[in-house]
């Protein structure tokens, strides 16, 4: 699999629910289809929220990792 080139990183660390999703939604409004973004968050709720947001909006959550403190999401925009 080719390595995705991240178009934009969204640093939502330290933000409480629902701001990681809000910041992500704000950022993607100006990005083109097919762009890949990386979101960093510390809100534990963002794990389910990001998946739900992608399902509803049609974007693809292609990778999700965590080191126990920071959650990292990679999303490809529809």
């Amino acid at each position: 699999m080719a390595v995705l080139e991240i178009t934009q990183q969204i640093d939502a660390r330290g933000l409480s629910c629902p701001m990681p999703i809000v910041k992500t939604a704000q950022a993607v409004k100006v990005l083109p289809s097919g762009a890949a973004i990386e979101v960093l968050a510390t809100d534990a709720g963002s794990v389910k929220d990001m998946a739900a947001w992608c399902r509803t909006t049609g974007h693809t959550l292609v990778d999700q990792t965590s080191d126990g403190a920071v959650y990292r999401f990679v999303i490809v925009l529809k």
């Binding site: 409480s16 629902p18 701001m19 809000v22 939604a25 929220d49 947001w53």
Partner: protein, 137 residues
């Protein structure tokens, strides 16, 4: 997701306004339209000269609840007005003051924070609400 979420805000304490702001921001992030109708003490909290003030908490919060809310704010949680500004930035969020409550509180729209888009009656609110859920907070 086309039907709007319709929030009637009655209570003017910071905890209930925060909960409403979170519901609004989440819906806006999903592209769901949100109509907010401000009545009574919630409307009073949107006065331009008071929106950043401490509006207290619901009685059930008690001292422990107060401490928990303060701790979350100290950890960087955005104030409800800021959360609403971010939600409005996403689009689809309309905040209207109830005209009866405007009379009750002797307010003009110039007295309100710019977050408030206008003044309307309950019939206009229901028209905008369509078949979407109406939630009273």
């Amino acid at each position: 997701m086309d039907e709007p979420l319709n929030l009637v805000l009655f209570s003017g304490t910071d905890d209930k306004l925060q909960a409403a702001a979170v519901l609004t921001a989440g819906a806006a992030a999903l592209g769901k339209p949100v109509n907010i109708f401000l009545q009574y003490w919630a409307l009073d909290a949107f006065r331009a000269d008071r929106i950043a003030s401490d509006h207290g908490l619901a009685p059930e919060a008690g001292a422990a609840g107060r401490a928990a809310v303060d701790a979350l704010a100290a950890a960087g949680q955005a104030a409800w007005a800021e959360t609403l500004r971010q939600a409005k930035d996403l689009g689809g969020v309309d905040i209207e003051a109830c005209s009866l409550s405007m009379d009750l509180l002797h307010l003009d729209q110039a007295d309100l924070d710019p977050l408030v888009d206008g003044v309307e009656g309950v019939t206009a609110f229901y028209l905008a609400a369509g078949d979407g859920q109406v939630v009273f907070i």
